[in-house]
Symmetry: C2
Subunit: 365 residues, 2 copies
């Protein structure tokens, strides 16, 4: 039977991030004896492992058990019932990017189940869902942490929260929030040299695995818009949704409706001249073009799209697929607090989830 100081963990999602998280959880469970972690539920989109008496699933063999399981995942309301009935406190780790799971957060939280997740959907969907999530948490005392929803494991959310909670006044947030966009523009318009053709860079990024299966899912700017929505709300702007402010799409109008990513890539070279013009115009001013998001608190404006930067600007000098986030605040003055590094990838995304879990455990156990 479970002893006290035990915490029950349910993990939804066993994809790239989910697998890395399980590996980190396994190491954590070995190193940290208190509270004792019991993995009591794990599911992919098709299968699940759990048992009615909350016996712990071996973390190291969890993926193997999952692949050979004959059980289907429980419905979300059933998972909430199951975790609420656990002998001691429970945490839901949502490693999916599912809107359905996100929509159920208020239910989980209201039943005292804490949540850690990299899932952006919950915090960048409707403002009502955002309010419902934090109202439910506040009422029940359950915790909700989502560091990896912006910049993967980079300390972006935690830093913004620290600034706000200690009474600093954020004036502006600006940065490169997409690893894909970072890679594309660092190659297309490098600080030194002339860079490649736009369509060729997009093709290369896709081949290297830096884009979604259909690159339009990166080029439409929505991923960046979701991250900006989250940061703006944390900074105090009640942004209604990621489509309620200007977001520049890099998909040529004519290619919005072509049927596949492959067809898109095939036809993209016909539109290279547009991006080439943008690049040349910046070059004439000694600048480079980058795809950035920014939040201006005074004018309450949020926007996502192309902007030009001096070649010595930290945003221009970014490398590889790194993210960079600059917080301008009253206390920090003219030089912002800057955080920079890999903002995508299974291991660093899982790191944000695991460190969130450690923070939740220190509070609920």
């Amino acid at each position: 039977m479970p002893t006290t100081k035990q915490v029950f963990i349910a993990v939804i999602g066993a994809g790239g991030v989910g697998k890395c998280f399980l590996s980190q959880l396994s190491a954590l469970a070995t190193r940290k004896p208190t509270p004792k972690l019991s993995l009591c539920y794990i599911s992919s989109s098709k299968k699940a492992v759990f048992n009615s008496d909350y016996n712990s699933i071996g973390i190291e063999n969890a993926l193997q058990e999952l692949s050979s399981s004959s059980k289907s995942p429980l419905a979300l309301s059933q998972i909430a019932d199951y975790l609420a009935g656990a002998p001691s406190k429970a945490v839901l780790v949502d490693n999916t990017s599912s809107q359905d799971v996100a929509d159920a957060y208020p239910l989980f939280l209201s039943r005292g189940i804490s949540i850690v997740t990299p899932n952006k959907k919950a915090f960048s969907g409707s403002y009502k869902l955002w309010q419902d999530i934090f109202a439910a948490a506040s009422e029940s005392g359950a915790k909700v942490y989502h560091e990896s929803s912006v910049g993967a494991g980079l300390p972006v959310i935690s830093t913004l929260k620290d600034l706000v909670e200690t009474g600093d006044e954020v004036t502006k947030i600006e940065g490169v929030f997409s690893g894909t966009m970072s890679f594309l523009f660092n190659s297309f318009a490098p600080v030194e040299g002339s860079g490649g053709q736009w369509s060729a860079e997009v093709k290369k990024a896709k081949e290297l695995g830096y884009t979604e299966p259909d690159p339009r899912d990166d080029l439409n700017g929505l991923d960046v818009a979701r991250k900006l929505t989250i940061l703006a709300r944390l900074a105090g702007l009640p942004v209604e949704s990621p489509t309620s402010f200007p977001v520049q799409s890099l998909i040529p109008k004519e290619l919005e409706t072509v049927s596949s990513g492959d067809e898109f890539l095939e036809k993209l070279p016909g539109f290279d001249s547009q991006m080439e013009e943008t690049k040349s115009a910046a070059e004439k001013q000694g600048k480079v073009v980058r795809f950035v998001g920014s939040i201006d608190m005074a004018s309450k404006s949020v926007k996502v799209g192309l902007e030009t930067f001096d070649k010595s600007h930290p945003i221009a000098a970014l490398k590889g697929s790194d993210n960079i986030i600059s917080f301008y605040t009253k206390r920090y003055g003219s030089n912002p607090l800057i955080i920079q590094g890999a903002g995508a990838g299974g291991d660093v995304t899982a790191m944000g989830v695991t460190s969130d879990l450690i923070k939740v455990l220190s509070q609920i156990a």
Copy 2:
């Protein structure tokens, strides 16, 4: 009478950081109703305010009460007795840079009193003190947080802890850890232009308030060595003390023993040629010289001193008196996780203390 969910706060130190902290604490106490914060003790080096029945001192008027108080500060062991006897949990906020207070941390922690502090002395003194502090905390369950001991409010300590606790492997830490040194070298050897004379830059830095009253207390490198000691220990190296690894002093041998900072500044121009040569040598290679600290985990080596960097390197491009800290880890690969921004100043240092306090409150209340 105190109700439950109340936490008692004792503040030692009412200098620059202490004053900013009180201002932030006052705002926090207004905004966060749970747990209720009761300031029950505050002291400067000469005076104190407290009362035997733990009645709360008004935070907004605390400094005024302190200046008109006729009470002397309690001895450290008496403060520990007083806080251990409080009706509910207590936190000691040490806003001094006193070794005596630091030496008493194991006593406070062993009696269940949590500690938040920017005081570097406790964590960069003898390795035995470090071990005693964390052993006492681990045994009693009291918390000890010290974000502002490195990089002021920048999320340096918390990020390193997150990396280590989630199982990443830190390979190297490198950066500019002193606002004074940052300012001096960004002016003396800027990326663009030729910069000023060394002694003139030191004089200017002192006039602007960027140095200690005697600039030798910055130029000896000990402040940076202390910060490196803390980070190396957190990363897993049992560094014995801040003098147990190579630290380059920028004080000419002949000026080590002159009696005052003023005399030092007067005689420093006679030694400008040494620094000028270092600058020229770097320039010939297209580089600039910077005062950095680095930790190499593979070779277990820690060092502090002058190094040269390509002009495009983030360390070379630093501005004003900013700090920059790069974490190279297995997960982050060739591009490090970088944190940059003001690493000194009352407000940003107090911010680290206040955000630590918020974290402690969320765990103990």
